[in-house]
Each structure stands twice: as structure tokens, then as C-alpha cells.
């Protein structure tokens, strides 16, 4: 399949605010505009990748991502994932995926109690086969920004060990001369992103769609997204 034949869907919730950035990034990199689907829809048209974008779905009421995770469209996303479909959640999208139970753990308030908006250095860990890391080198470092108040990844010790043992840690915050202290939020084991056991569902706090050209400070997000899109269209 060519890159432009890849069907990408971006879910939109009330309070999403990175849906358009993600759409622009995917259109720029894949050459085809993704479909947008509203949270009230209960089915998805045939799609190769569903992206749950960042933002403040449902105003972050109750817990970040909690209400979005129970919305009609997420039922369809769960079905898509159960069939082995690829799903990517960024920032609030990661929070939503954790609240659905597709990925283990939870994102709690940043250890510093402050909203953090800055570049981070993200290192590829990988391990298990996954379209989200297969096209990247283990140890590869990318400058990608974060912007969140609840990005502090927490899971039980058993879950953390399982993630390590199964190679499900996709990305870690790493030290870098360019962006200052590595871990911006206190996340356990410096976790920035994880994948499901089958590698088909990925959630990450950093925003690759905000780093798609040098004019934005970094094009490393484009590297990450292109690698995913190429792996999915292979």
C-alpha cells in the first residue's frame, strides 16, 4: 500500500484541541487528509489507524480522559483495537486510552504540580514488534514537546515490570543538553509512551504533531509519525 492510500481517522471530542494539528501533520506526511470522527458516532468507517488527539476532552471533568473513554466512538475504537487495528493516543489521547483499559496504568498530576510546556528529549526504547517503533532505531533521540498537567505515568510495580519485560515501553524521557532536565513530570521509570502487548496500540505524552518542521523548533515528530505511517502502509 502506498502512503497516501493509508486511511487515518482522528477522533474529535468536545475539548479536543490538537485534532487539527494532527490532521495537518498527517496530511503533510502521508499526502492524504485524515477523516475526522465526532465522539457521538458509534461506528468507524474502514480505517488503518485511529488517532486520539490531545486536548481537554470533556473539560477534564472527573479525571482526565475518563468521560471520553466511555463515549460512543470509543466503543468503536475498542472494537477496532480488538480486531488488531492500530490506535495512537497523544497526550489527552494517551490519558483516554489508559482510562479505556487498552493500556495499563494511569497519568496523574505532574510531580511539580505545574503545567509543563516545553521540549523534551524522547528516546526510543521499543522491544516488542510495533508499527510505532519498528521504523525507528533503539536509542534514537528526538526533540518533541510536551504540554500537560497530568503526564506523570503511574502503574503498579507488577505492571511496570511487565511493561519492561515485554518490551512495551516505547519511549522514555532522556537527558539532553538541549532541553534541560529529562523527566518533565515525575513519570515512573521515565516513561513517555507505551504500547499494548501486541504492539498495535500506543499512547505517548509528547506531541509529535507539534514538531513537524524546523520552523516549529523540531522536525523530529515528523520522523516519528512518518515511521508509523510507513510501517502501517508496508
Amino acid at each position: 500500500m502506498s502512503l497516501s492510500a493509508l486511511r487515518v481517522t482522528v477522533a474529535v471530542f468536545p475539548g479536543s484541541n490538537c485534532d487539527r494539528d494532527m490532521m495537518v501533520a498527517i496530511e503533510k506526511l502521508a499526502g492524504r487528509r485524515p477523516a475526522l470522527v465526532w465522539h457521538k458516532e458509534s461506528s468507524l468507517d474502514a480505517t488503518d489507524l485511529v488517532i486520539i488527539p490531545g486536548g481537554f476532552s470533556y473539560g477534564d471533568y472527573l479525571r482526565c480522559g475518563a468521560l471520553a473513554a466511555r463515549s460512543p466512538i470509543m466503543e468503536a475504537v475498542l472494537d477496532h483495537a480488538a480486531r488488531g487495528g492500530a490506535v495512537m493516543g497523544v497526550c489527552n489521547g494517551f490519558q483516554i486510552l489508559l482510562e479505556t483499559g487498552l493500556l495499563p496504568g494511569v497519568l496523574v498530576e505532574n510531580a511539580g504540580l505545574k503545567y509543563v510546556c516545553r521540549n523534551t528529549c524522547v528516546e526510543v526504547v521499543g522491544g516488542t514488534a510495533s508499527p510505532f517503533t519498528d521504523g525507528l532505531e533503539t536509542g534514537q533521540r528526538m526533540i518533541i514537546p510536551v504540554a500537560h498537567n497530568e503526564g506523570n505515568y503511574f502503574a503498579s510495580d507488577e505492571d511496570l515490570q511487565r511493561l519492561e519485560d515485554n518490551g512495551q515501553i516505547a519511549f522514555r524521557y532522556a537527558d539532553s543538553d538541549i532541553v534541560g532536565p529529562s523527566n518533565p513530570n515525575g513519570a515512573a521509570r521515565d516513561i513517555a509512551g507505551i504500547v499494548s502487548p501486541n504492539g498495535r496500540v500506543m499512547g505517548m505524552m509528547p506531541h509529535p504533531e507539534r514538531a513537524i518542521s524546523p520552523e516549529l523548533g523540531s522536525a523530529d515528530g515528523a520522523t516519528l509519525l512518518t515511521a508509523c505511517l510507513e510501517a502501517l502502509s508496508a
Binding site: R70, V108, F154, A155
Partner: protein
């Protein structure tokens, strides 16, 4: 009937908000304050007269949505009011 759900962070889960409040209280001269933990209280008006059935339903609500049991515990209080 009115049902109250108290949601608190599990022990062992870091509560940065509670810690900041604790530090402020100590700074204000309340030296006796040790661990501080912040929770949530949700009040539900339920169309139900049977307390045990209400408790069961609200427990389901907690497991399904109201609490994230990875990090939170919940307690259910039932206020049966004057008509009990």
C-alpha cells in the same frame, strides 16, 4: 435516596497536592500536621428505595466510571433520610 461516594487515593500513591497542602499548613504554624491526602466527594440522588440495591448499583458506577481503581479507593455512604 441520597448516596455519597468518597474517593481517595490509595495508600502508596503519591499525592503531590496533599503534600503541597501539608507543607503550607506546616509553614502556617500547624506543626502537628503529618500526611495530607486530598479526595473527592460525589453526591448522587438515586431513584431507589432499597439501600442494599442502591449500594450495589453505586458500587457498579464506581467500578465503571467514578473511580479509577488503579490509584483510587471508594467508600459508599447511604443517607436513607427521614422516611426510613
Amino acid at each position: 435516596m441520597q448516596v455519597i461516594v468518597n474517593i481517595s487515593l490509595k495508600y502508596g500513591v503519591l499525592d503531590p497536592q496533599g503534600r503541597a497542602i501539608g507543607r503550607s499548613l506546616t509553614d502556617l504554624g500547624f506543626q502537628e500536621v503529618g500526611d495530607v491526602r486530598v479526595g473527592k466527594r460525589i453526591t448522587l440522588e438515586i431513584d431507589e428505595t432499597d439501600a442494599s440495591r442502591a449500594r450495589q448499583r453505586v458500587a457498579r458506577m464506581c467500578e465503571t466510571l467514578l473511580a479509577n481503581t488503579v490509584i483510587e479507593d471508594y467508600e459508599i455512604e447511604i443517607d436513607e433520610g427521614d422516611d426510613a
